[in-house]
């Protein structure tokens, strides 16, 4: 990993999940998801009443790509950033809040959750998450990603792609 990695586990992960749960409850949204700027899902939470979400991997990738494109557009227009990314359809909406430099908070909601409330609760959660993601930035070897790990992963590569 060339950029610093975000690794969420242990108590930091629990705190993130608690923040996401609160956000889900207070916003009335269907799903909330924390992802990094590369489009990897870090944590997510779904309302019990919500239908199964679409493939999270794909969703995260598109949201990160969309956010990157939106901020590139802002720069071309001489804005340091566009404040918020929001998409609203007839039934569903999507709201994205930037979490510092490293992450994105995404909220998927339907028309039972007013956008105003989604935004308000998202901004509150964003503050907590910014601190938590900062704590979660680590170097790989601190996590035990070492030569043993490499050798194990290489063996799996042979298994999947043949020798």
């Amino acid at each position: 990993m060339i950029e610093p990695a975000i690794a969420l586990y242990g108590s930091t992960f629990q705190s993130v999940m608690k923040t996401l749960e609160e956000l889900l409850r207070e916003s009335g949204a269907r799903y909330v998801m924390l992802l990094d700027r590369k489009g990897f899902v870090l944590a997510h939470k779904e309302a019990l009443w919500a239908p199964r979400p679409p493939a999270l991997d794909s969703l995260a990738t598109l949201i990160a790509g969309n956010a990157a494109a939106t901020q590139a557009l802002a720069k071309m227009l001489g804005e340091p950033r566009f404040q918020e990314i929001v998409h609203q359809g007839e039934q569903n909406g999507l709201y994205v809040e930037e979490i510092g430099e490293v992450a994105l908070l995404t909220i998927l909601f339907d028309n039972s959750a007013p956008l105003g409330r989604v935004k308000l609760t998202a901004k509150k959660a964003a503050q907590a998450l910014e601190q938590l993601t900062r704590e979660a930035i680590v170097t790989p070897n601190k996590l035990g990603i070492d030569t043993d790990y490499r050798d194990g992963a290489n063996a799996l590569l042979d298994e999947l792609f043949g020798n």
Binding site: K38, G39, T61, T139, N141, L143, I145, N154, L156
Partner: protein, 196 residues
């Protein structure tokens, strides 16, 4: 509810297929998608134009399995190769862990290969990265073309010092596709294992 257990540690790597327009980047991903068991991969997302040229990116997540308690996954991306898509191409390089440069073996694409490679260097520089800091492997694709140039010549214009490993491929029939992906994955793993 999702079956993904986020309490378990998970490690993801981002591998980007770069190269000139029509060199076969998307074809590489399609082959991987079609060949590995569907339990080991997710959906493929393609943002393409009507005529199947990549507009923003293709995306394919591949699950390697669990190593030392880490769920290990490779996220494969392609960039749009066409010159005028540079603004979006640059965005895909964000956070890249490894690069496959797919060169075209056709004689009339020799220059396009060179230009794309130079463009890669420039775009990495915008993220403060040099070519030496990112694991890179080369692929000479379309070896089946009757007028395919010698591999040495393809490599000469992009990598005269032969710094990178070069793999011959026919992505449309899968020749060399796994070998290339395996090689870049190994470089990425070595790098992360020895990183401070």
């Amino acid at each position: 509810m999702s079956t993904i257990n986020f309490a378990a540690r998970e490690i993801n790597f981002k591998i980007v297929y770069y190269g000139p327009g029509m060199s076969g980047k998307t074809t590489n991903l399609k082959w991987v998608f079609g060949q590995i068991p569907d339990t080991r991969r997710g959906d493929m997302v393609s943002l393409a134009t009507e005529d199947e040229r990549t507009l923003f990116f293709d995306f394919l997540p591949v699950d390697l399995g669990e190593v030392k308690g880490f769920k290990t996954r490779f996220h494969l991306y392609t960039v749009p190769g066409q010159v005028f898509y540079n603004a979006s191409r640059k965005l895909i390089l964000r956070g890249v862990d490894g690069i496959v440069f797919v060169a075209d073996s056709a004689p009339n694409r020799l220059r396009a290969n060179a230009e794309s490679f130079r463009n890669l260097r420039e775009n990495l520089a915008e993220y403060g990265l040099t070519m030496d800091e990112v694991p890179i492997v080369l692929q000479a694709n379309k070896r089946d073309l009757p007028d395919a140039l010698p591999v040495e010549m393809v490599q000469m214009v992009i990598d005269p010092d032969k710094k990178y490993s070069m793999f011959e491929a026919v992505a449309s029939t899968g020749v060399g596709v796994f070998e290339t992906l395996k090689a870049v994955s190994r470089l990425v793993l070595s790098r992360v294992a020895t990183a401070g």
